[in-house]
Subunit: 198 residues, 4 copies
DNA sequence: AATGAATGAGACTTCATTCAT
DNA sequence: CATGAATGAAGTCTCATTCAT
């Protein structure tokens, strides 16, 4: 009995996801150029040929991974949009980010590898720039809501802190005092401290 | 008649530098894996073979580039060690760093590509970690000298800001308001603001 | 539809053999260092890349060729083990060896090139030494069975004669009187002559 | 004061010999293809360029080494020609050969490597064949002088024994009982034994 | 006579991609 | 839909040979 169209479509979707996430993890681990299609196929438990049935080239796969990445990131930060209190918003944002750094270091790796990576850059740049901008805008809104003096700059500063710490953590995972820095940052951005920036 | 030892030494030094800086620029531009020995030779205007007369492998060249990089960075930050006044020290440090970011973006690119890049990482990691540590310690000393409450954390925060901003600048050179952020940061770390951290 | 496992296995076996025997012949003809992967691929009628799908390096291929060689040699000399009469055993052994020398000169070439060749030697040495020992032991047993006075030395002498003649034959295939030497040797090692060694 | 023509010529001769013997040893040790001009120059303590002042190519050097080798071998076996008594001649020949095997294994290595070696073979073959023939003829003459039945075959047998043993010795220098085989061979070819071959 | 920097052809090897099944 | 054998371009590296000094 042949499978129904729905079943086939489901298989396709599932396999595509499988390839995508295998690629994502390997790209994060070994970089784009350092990952081979064979690696990806092996990790996904499929044949090399099948990967080309889903993605027409390695670059294509990269773009797809990139989009996936952004969608995932969006998902993570979606919840905070519904929070009303800006102080709470920042606190939860910090919580989310640090959980994210620790738990999903690979996202940061990808984010950085892709952005710095030659050949890959062109593809990825626009997306990340947009993404960064969105983040900056979001933060800016929060800071403006609070009434802080220079919300645009403050948001860029905050963003820099986050990405700088992530970078340092990735460089030296064993020894970077991530939890301590998180507490420190939360103090820097608690209600009392933020008041001083008005 | 053969060339004198001095002549030979000079040739070797000159060619080595030529190769080294060609490699440095290309690594910065296209990453380690994205740069071929052919690229480097072409940029240096020499044959592929000659590169191997000076560096026994691409990895060897990478290590040499790495060391060069650190030496260059050291040179840049050396002057501030002699400044006595910690407030001035920070101000000049910020000046130096921002000049550096703008002028020698390639250093940051290398610094990041090397550190994030798989396969390359092993070689470079120790060096960068050491270097980062040195930077953190230097900052910590300054903050402690001033009498700031949590010098270790503050130094890591400062470091994160710098590297985060550099990252954002590299991502979006055209639009990132580097000069504006520099002014902003200088205000954040001027004498008046630092006093509040005591 | 993908090929069945059996089909794939057969293809792999066939291609592997093809590469192996192409390599074997070329190694025998031009030596290990004198043979390129391109040569082998060309002789096998495949692409260079495919050779690496079957053997991970030229050295790996060498080892495989070596094993093949020994297996083939074993096959050749297996039958004589079942012969009871030691005099007949020697006669048939001589027959086999001389047929072998003439027919499969390449085996001897390999055997010698590999053993004498630097760099290659390390890999091959143990195998050939073992093999030689086995041969000596086998002969020794035969001579002892006959009751010859100094079986260990006689077996080494016999071995030396064989390999020396092979060497001379290879040096000068056109003019070396192989058949004549075979007859001569058979007389030297016939029952009557062997009796004198008791 | 410029050097006299004689002095210059002497320097040339000395340097040529230096290169030649450096090449000889390295070829013996690592084979022709395994030895680089750099190796040879380094061993001779001269520059690569100078080697080309004396030998126009690596192949040229090989041929020269080959000739040197034969001259050296000739020198070694010259003395026995003057011995009258054929029995003594054989005894001394065996002595000489075994001393030679043990002491100058490199000659045998070269002799074999060159003969079996691809590309090299063409050059070397004629010489070695001639040399071998000369040896066979010499032995044949001795055996004929003694009155042995089949001097041509006996001389080839003797030659095979020698080269076979050398081969086995080189394969397994540590364990091959060279001295023991020498004694054994001397008994096989002493007056008493030879008489039986008449 | 002597040097070693420089070249370039060609070796080994990897891997994205294609294709017969 | 699925496979992995097969290709070939391109990358790293070696080395005989040349040449300016």
């Amino acid at each position: 009995m042949p499978r129904t169209k729905e079943q086939l479509q489901e298989i396709r979707k599932k396999t595509e996801k499988l390839i995508l996430y295998s690629a994502l993890e390997l790209f994060a681990e070994k970089g784009f150029n350092g990952t081979t299609i064979s690696d990806i196929a092996a990790k996904a438990g499929i044949s090399k040929g099948l990967a080309y049935n889903y993605f027409s080239s390695k670059k294509d796969l990269l773009e797809a991974v990139c989009e996936t990445l952004l969608i995932e990131m969006d998902k993570i930060f979606k919840p905070i949009e519904q929070i009303e209190d800006p102080y709470l918003k920042i606190e939860i944002l910090i919580n989310l980010i640090f959980t994210q750094i620790e738990k999903e270091e690979k996202f940061w790796r990808l984010y950085m590898d892709f952005s710095l990576h030659p050949g890959v850059k062109e593809i990825v740049n626009k997306i990340t720039v947009d993404y960064l901008d969105t983040g900056f805008k979001l933060l800016e809104k929060i800071f403006r809501q609070i009434g802080i003096k220079n919300p645009a700059n403050e948001s860029k500063l905050f963003g820099a802190i986050i990405d700088g710490m992530s970078l340092h953590y990735i460089f030296n995972k064993e020894h970077y005092p991530l939890k301590q820095m998180k507490r420190f940052l939360k103090k820097k951005y608690n209600k009392e401290s933020l008041e001083k920036l008005k």
